[in-house]
Amino acid sequence: MTTRNQAADAVAPLAQVSRRRFVKTALWGTGAVLALAGGSFAILRRSPLDDVSKPASLVHLSAPEYHLFNRAIEVLLPIDDGGLTPVDQVPVMANIDHTMGLVDPAVREDIRIGLALFDNAAVVAGLHGRRFVDLDRVDAIAYFDSWSRGNVLQKALQTVVKKFVYVSYWRDPATWPPVEFDGPVSDRWGIAYLGNAPLPDESTSDTASGEARA
């Protein structure tokens, strides 16, 4: 299960950035530009997925966030040639949901704004004309790549999405055997426990006090 560290680490870019007034302004500023460009920011373009509910097992993700991460998992982890552990054998979405639940509520709200922006901005950014959740794989990858070359806010947002997805996949031990990572080994190897070190021998003459004051 995803732990609090993944939460903090995954959202660190946005969590910190969002506290910065100037970037927060930029966030809203970008939203405003998008709103002018494509109509209302919140409904830049309807998606067929808007009418699809999220799985009941998800506690913290909203339906739009579920759809966004679902699409992100599909395009970021295209594991279909049998070389790596299939995504459907790893609880990636459950891990993301749990991670979201560990995030400070105030930061979570900022993240939600950021995720909505990431989804909606695809309508105008790159002239895709569709939200991120509706992009085909090639366009979705291009969207990620262009945002990795974009402004500070774009870099931060696409980093957040990638971290949520990648950390939630690769933290699972089921993903390690195909890449031959050994995971925990001490028990398997029978490594003996040494315990505390004994008190140092201070009988020798090179004690600092002795020499320093000499």
Binding site: P78, K163, P173, V179, G183, Y193, A197, A208
Partner: protein, 533 residues
């Protein structure tokens, strides 16, 4: 009469928040009187605690992190990192593009470090003696302290079996480039070569404070509280008289109890970020205006490469060799290392889709170098807001010169890996980028523009902030005196990397422990000023 001192076989006696909550005699508010209170139980605080307790002083150590005994380490970074890393490894600068990785547990960063004990070049000590008036830091005077740190913590040069495949690639590259390299010195006893240093050492082979100075201090009677956050230093008439703290439930963050400690001597050893923050919250007199300023961060980037053949660079001792060719001339150093998959994702994997899959499928053919550079020491930490509801702000972004240094260290690390036969080098940039030859490399690196303050250019990290409450002779230029005592507050000492007089090109743990031993001696030498008994 001879005193019998017994070190516990394993673990450290620690009072935790749950113990306080369960003890009705402590209640919601209590006080303790002690000779010395030490804030922080890591590299510096643990040493001071031991030295003071051994000298017969009553000692209380206050640690904000939780107690996580070695027996609970699982070698699964994902399971353990949130228990022992500051802000669950999410501590970052104000623009969130530089991670400040730090331990937050009993034993501090010594618990999660890669065992690197990077000694300072004698020329650094000489510079501090000659050019900063710190005569007692001259190499011949500091040498006894360095010998003790080396001997007590089993600091040794990596032996052949501690040089893993990643390190051998680095050696190969250096030999072809004509670069000087040497095995890393580490504080480990009979290393089990698991490669899981960053998740703590479950077999207690790493000579962290958790298995050395803290149990030694406890053997001499020192007491240790975990989950205890010092809010401020108490001062009366220019003299430190104790601290105030809150004990928090580590799971909920709720306050279990308020604690007041009355002490003859206060030692701050909470690290280069949190020591100055405590000073700022305490609103201590500071003629220098340098509390929290002038912080060096020693940024590093992780340069990864893929080879044609399997390398299994993640197996064996995590850190094998360091490249010291540029250490004295440019302030650069490089340490071999390749961590587990999750860590690679956590530092910001930027590839998407097939490119990511291709990248991870080559994991067993990877080798890595951590490329460090010396910065100008222009970082700062600031406490904003009230005592208990405020927040820390860490400010550091690279200057143009520092940015150029990061570009250069990336280029040098890449060249070493190409010289060792790497087919591809994955560049540590926020933009997805790799190079398949040296010529390709130069073009790619030229395309990384400094932009605005170097924001979101390279994926930088730091393990090594220092110099945020510098030592010096002039109270208008430095925060603490050559004895480690705050210029403007008697009885308040600093014993961590905060007091480094200048930025250094070396990991800070070794020097911090040397300084802590040195400051301990100074406290005891001035005992008549501080202690009644």
């Amino acid at each position: 009469m001879q005193r019998i001192v017994r070190v516990p076989q394993d673990g450290v006696p620690v009072t935790e928040a749950r113990d306080v909550a369960a003890d009705p005699s402590m209640g919601r508010k209590f006080s303790i009187k002690t000779d010395v209170v030490v804030v922080g139980s890591g590299a510096g605080g643990s040493v001071v605690a031991y030295e003071m307790a051994k000298a017969g002083k009553s000692v209380l150590v206050l640690e904000s992190g939780k107690y996580y005994p070695s027996a609970e380490f699982t070698e699964h970074l994902g399971d353990t990192i949130h228990e022992v890393y500051r802000d669950q490894a999410g501590q970052a600068n104000s623009t969130a593009d530089v991670l400040f990785i730090e331990g937050n547990c009993v034993g501090g960063s010594t618990v999660i470090g890669a065992c690197v004990m990077h000694r300072l070049n004698p020329s650094v000590w000489q510079d501090w003696a000659d050019n900063h008036g710190l005569k007692d830091l001259a190499p011949d005077k500091i040498a006894p302290y360095t010998k003790i740190v080396d001997r007590w913590l089993n600091v040794h040069v990596n032996e052949a079996h501690e040089i893993n495949a990643t390190a051998h690639k680095v050696i190969q590259g250096c030999e072809r480039m004509g670069f000087s390299w040497r095995p890393v010195e580490r504080n480990v006893k009979k290393c089990a070569l698991t490669g899981h240093c960053l998740a703590g050492c479950p077999s207690d082979r790493k000579m962290s404070a958790l298995v050395t100075h803290l149990p030694w201090a406890a053997a001499y009677g020192a007491r240790l509280f975990a989950d205890t956050h010092v809010t401020r230093v108490l001062e009366r008439g220019g003299r430190a008289v104790g601290v105030e703290a809150v004990i928090r439930d580590p799971k909920t963050g709720s306050i279990v109890s308020d604690l007041r400690v009355d002490a003859e001597v206060v030692v701050l050893a909470a690290g280069a970020i949190h020591t100055p923050l405590i000073m700022q919250r305490s609103q201590l007199a500071d003629r220098s205006g340098r509390i929290g300023n002038g912080m060096a961060v020693q940024p590093f980037v992780q340069v990864l490469s893929t080879f044609k053949e399997p390398v299994y660079g993640f197996r064996g001792a995590l850190t094998g060799v360091q490249v010291d060719e540029f250490q004295d001339t440019d302030g650069y150093f490089f340490i071999s290392g390749l961590a587990e998959p999750e860590q690679l994702m956590a530092v910001g994997e930027q590839k998407a889709g097939d490119a990511h899959i291709e990248f991870m499928k080559s994991y067993n053919r990877m080798a890595g170098i951590n490329a460090f550079s010396l910065d100008e020491g222009s970082g700062s930490v600031v406490w904003e807001g009230g005592l208990t509801d405020g927040r820390k702000v860490i400010k550091w972004n690279p200057s143009r010169k520092e940015f150029k240094d990061i570009v250069r260290t990336t280029a040098l690390a890449s060249r070493i890996l190409f010289s060792a036969g790497a087919e591809r080098v994955w560049l540590p940039t926020f933009e997805k980028m790799h190079a398949d030859s040296v010529f390709d490399l130069d073009d790619k690196l030229r395309s990384v523009d400094y932009g605005i303050n170097g924001l979101y250019t390279f994926r930088m990290n730091t393990f090594s902030p220092h110099g945020s409450a510098r030592m010096g002779v002039d109270p208008y230029e430095s925060v603490v005196s050559p004895d480690g005592e705050m210029h403007d507050v008697s009885g308040l000492y600093v014993a961590d990397a905060s007091l480094f007089p200048t930025p250094v090109a070396a990991g800070p743990q070794w020097a911090t422990q040397v300084f802590a031993k040195y400051v301990s001696d100074r406290i005891l030498a001035r005992g008549s000023n501080h202690f009644l008994g």
